[in-house]
């Protein structure tokens, strides 16, 4: 009888320990502080955010203080924290251990959509820098048509002052102008490129065989939520899945979580290397 009671007690303790979930630790900047639950003085939005994460991840969520963003990145890489907001400079040294998972889209911004920079097939340019001093066509004045392509070019050493911009009505016209030889290159978003260059009839399998892509890339994120690369996919996807509808489901938590972003509209997923200059195939 005593043995059975002991066995039961061991089983209960074992189950309780097993069921206790690992805490999820968020690195924040300001002052160095050990990971701890939110204090009683936490603001309403901060409380809402931590409570939401705790409920949806079914584990305690702790706040870990670091002096600066580089320290937070290092702490994340060392495994002291699980998630942090990083910028490109802080991310670069810890790129091997960490990856971006989410960015914030501003209300008047396009998605971080891919941009295609292309020239006529006979052009010898092999990268964006080779277009310095030449004329580049853009497909419209919308954020996706102009601002995003210009950002991608500027990130690669081509600020607007370094080329002659020709802004057309849309991507179709910009590409037509390239074909007609009235511009040296185009920088259009991927959908505009696809509209013109996707196969419409098997008789013409490659409608843009006369053109050549020199760059396809998304704009680099200015900031991103970053996690360690070794976290399970399930946790990464659940973090994405709970952040994306936050502006709809928990506005106070969203306002806190996106405090640093200007005019935040929504969270968006991000590729692992969103904080570096990467190219797409």
């Amino acid at each position: 009888m005593r043995l059975a009671a002991l066995a039961l007690a061991v089983a209960v303790v074992f189950t309780a320990v097993g069921a206790r979930a690992e805490p999820f630790r968020i690195a924040v900047t300001g002052a160095k502080a050990a990971c701890a639950p939110l204090g009683g003085d936490a603001a309403v939005g901060e409380r809402a955010y931590y409570d939401l994460l705790s409920k949806r991840l079914a584990r305690p969520v702790l706040k870990c203080g670091y002096a600066g963003v580089a320290d937070a990145a290092a702490g994340l890489a060392r495994g002291e924290a699980d998630m942090a907001w990083l910028d490109p400079a802080a991310f670069a040294p810890v790129r091997a251990q960490t990856r971006a998972i989410l960015t914030v889209r501003g209300a008047r911004e396009s998605n971080r959509i891919a941009v295609v920079v292309a020239v006529r097939a006979a052009n010898t340019a092999r990268d964006a820098v080779a277009l310095k001093g030449l004329s580049i066509g853009f497909g419209g004045r919308s954020p996706a048509g102009l601002a995003t392509p210009q950002t991608v070019l500027a990130e690669r050493g081509l600020p607007p002052a370094s080329y002659s911009a020709k802004i057309d009505v849309d991507g179709d016209q910009a590409i037509a102008e390239l074909r007609a030889g009235r511009v040296d290159a185009v920088a259009v978003h991927a959908a505009a490129w696809q509209r013109v260059c996707r196969m419409v009839s098997p008789k013409v399998p490659n409608p843009c065989a006369d053109l050549r892509i020199v760059l396809k890339a998304r704009p680099r994120a200015a900031e991103a939520l970053v996690v360690r690369r070794d976290i399970p996919d399930e946790l990464r996807y659940r973090l994405i899945g709970l952040h994306m509808p936050m502006h709809l489901e928990a506005p106070a938590a969203f306002a806190f979580a996106t405090l640093r972003a200007k005019d935040a509209a929504e969270f968006q997923p991000a590729e692992a290397d969103a904080l570096i200059l990467a190219t797409l195939k």
């Binding site: 996706a144 179709d172 659940r238």
Partner: protein, 308 residues
């Protein structure tokens, strides 16, 4: 195929919401219904690649149930026989009318320029004398399906807003049964016009996606043999919807894995038929309110004895 699949699923139906952290003990596989009416056989083949990707991402088997008609998907998600479904706005409105908040929209595609909608296009043969909507008076029209948003529900409401009664304006109307069937029936002269889905653009820019373009790429029709004479839209795009009685952790996991796809696997994203430069954005019921209201009105009118 779906019918057989759904019969096999009988009894799976509704579940009590789970508060358990160990939700994987309750869910052994994810069941997702998709409309298999699609006009592109290649797309159907690519879905297998998509299913494999999703299974890997979720860490559990994913079973896709393809329905050859809209109603199959609607009934599968309404009855709880599947956990998730990809469904057009009008289909979701129908589900909402049946089960309310037991099903909720999670994600919808957002295009490069920010649009989250698509269009209905009234299409005629290029050689047709019809140049405008007014020319269609007394002529025959093919709708896609009663449960089609772009091929029935939305254009009819848009016509009414323009002062045209779709039940009396056209000479004869009928359902083709799907977008592919509607294109082929139009090509064969069965109708004078058909109402089709058009996306990947606007009436101003032209469209890059839709059944006409898909069948043209397959070499089954020539895009130059058709002409758009009228459009209505934008219509809120299709949604990934979920049963809300499934574990929240599963819902978050599926939403995250699906939304990450264009970033994790950009080539696969376009291979499964999504437009380059598009990505998912989170939505809730409010995004589909207009369609929900239209469906309610349509149902009320149908009970009053409308056509077809």
């Amino acid at each position: 195929m779906l019918v057989a699949g759904l019969l096999a699923l009988a009894g799976c139906g509704e579940r009590a919401p789970s508060a358990s952290a160990d939700w994987r003990g309750e869910i052994k596989e994810v069941k997702m219904a998709i409309s298999g009416n699609n006009d592109d056989p290649q797309l159907v083949r690519r879905r297998e690649v998509y299913r494999e990707h999703l299974s890997k991402a979720l860490g559990m088997p994913v079973r896709l149930y393809e329905s050859s008609d809209y109603n199959g998907v609607i009934q599968a998600i309404s009855s709880g026989q599947v956990d998730f479904a990809n469904i057009a706005g009008g289909g979701y409105a129908n589900v909402d009318a049946q089960v309310g908040d037991k099903v909720a929209p999670l994600l919808t595609p957002r295009q490069a320029e920010g649009e989250t909608g698509y269009y209905s296009a009234l299409v005629v043969r290029a050689a047709s004398p019809m140049k405008s909507l007014a020319d269609m008076k007394g002529h025959s029209l093919g709708y896609v399906d009663y449960n089609s948003t772009s091929g029935y529900l939305y254009p009819r409401a848009a016509l009414r807003k323009q002062g045209i009664d779709p039940d009396t304006f056209f000479g004869k109307t009928s359902f083709a049964g799907g977008h592919t069937q509607a294109v082929m029936a139009l090509a064969n002269g069965q109708f004078d016009a058909a109402i089709l889905q058009a996306s990947g653009g606007t009436p101003e820019t032209g469209f890059t996606r839709g059944p006409l373009r898909t069948l043209a790429r397959e070499g089954l029709v020539d895009i130059d043999d058709f002409r758009i004479v009228w459009t209505a839209g934008p219509i809120p795009s299709e949604a990934l919807v979920a049963r809300t009685d499934r574990p929240q952790a599963l819902i978050d996991l599926v939403r995250g894995a699906m939304a990450a796809l264009p970033y994790d696997e950009p080539a696969l994203w376009t291979e499964i038929g999504q437009l380059d430069g598009s990505a998912y954005t989170a939505v809730d019921r409010r995004h589909y309110q207009e369609i929900i209201d239209l469906r309610r009105e349509e149902l009320a009118q149908r009970r009053g004895g409308g056509r077809p």
